[in-house]
Symmetry: C2
Subunit: 210 residues, 2 copies
């Protein structure tokens, strides 16, 4: 097989193919890199119709990331997919509390999901601007919305891209009316890989990746 094997060449060629197949689709230039990276990670062009960006979200999110933020994921898989070198260069840290013994204990006592309690835990314990990257848990999204509406959480960005068949669509629709900046994959599709791709796309426009 005659192949390109240089990772950056492969990625550049992939983005050329994606750009070419996106011709005719409407999207704002400022959101293009996120859309393309999500398609790159999923090979699924449905995202051209599914991804929703609140007004000015990319500029505001990049401004936050540039000054160092805590990026909170709802799964270890989401955390794994985020480029830690790029995050470190920006002074950002990537945190996931869903498997922490403390959160597990709180969830056991409250009867709520660990995903929900992990949001409360992050809101309570993490200083500085918070970026939530939610690719799995509707209960995490719903809790974020509740805390924002109660005035006790003011996230710099909510990435709302859980995948699935139960509570997922509804929880993402809730985020659409959130005053906080948000990026939402409407419908059933999404995932931890998509959440990580969105964070990486935001970072790669403003820093080196390695």
């Amino acid at each position: 097989m005659d192949m390109i094997t240089n990772p950056m060449e492969i990625e550049n060629r992939s983005f050329e193919i994606i750009s070419s197949e996106l011709e005719g689709k409407e999207f704002k230039k400022e959101n293009a890199n996120i859309l393309k990276r999500v398609i790159h990670t999923s090979a699924d062009f449905d995202y051209a119709d599914n991804l929703f960006f609140s007004e000015g979200v990319v500029a505001s999110a990049q401004n936050t990331l540039r000054n160092g933020a805590a990026i909170i994921t709802d799964t270890q898989m989401g955390s794994s997919g985020i480029n830690k070198r790029a995050a470190a260069k920006l002074g950002c840290e990537v945190l996931c509390f869903v498997d922490s013994p403390e959160v597990a204990q709180i969830a056991k006592e409250s009867g709520h999901t660990r995903s929900r309690e992990a949001v409360d835990y992050a809101a309570r314990t993490v200083a500085g601007p918070l970026v939530f990257a939610v690719g799995n848990a509707p209960t995490a999204l719903i809790r974020i919305c509740e805390l924002v509406e109660a005035g006790v959480l003011d996230p710099a960005l909510v990435i709302a891209v859980p995948v699935g068949f139960v509570n997922v669509v509804e929880s993402k629709e809730l985020v659409l009316s959130l005053k906080a900046p948000h990026i939402v994959a409407r419908g059933r599709k999404g995932g931890s890989n998509v959440a990580a791709a969105i964070v990486n796309a935001l970072m790669y426009e403003i820093t080196d990746r390695d």
Copy 2:
């Protein structure tokens, strides 16, 4: 929002929805749980047409996993998505060498990709039956095929589900003619999440998950 929040209830209801929407699609009963879990992780019914299973692969893979195997992933994200408790109960370990400094050094010297060298490293250093779960790197798949054809690697299972636009389709088509047992997502779609979902689906039929 009136919601089911118990994770197992959510999963059961999700699988009911998936089963119902799969009606009319043709697939072997023995492969059904893998197909459904891949759709569960992606919300993408294209996999009903894309997933290819070699003859008897599920029974042979489960026989291997039941007796303890090394599950080798090509990304940390794939490794993150595999249920470690279920793996431990079966006596399986989950390994990923792509970020190992030794593999990085070998790749630097050889000029090959780290993904390819990670396959050689696993083949050379890991004892016992090997299950490869490849959700990202075409060069890993191609190297597995080369080593099998050279008679120096005899994997118990090759999960061939990279996602992407360059080399991806071709590398997966190569695996289809491999004598070793394989599960392939034909076309562009796949990913580390899909690779992990396939491993988990195989394990969940033969052990508890927690």
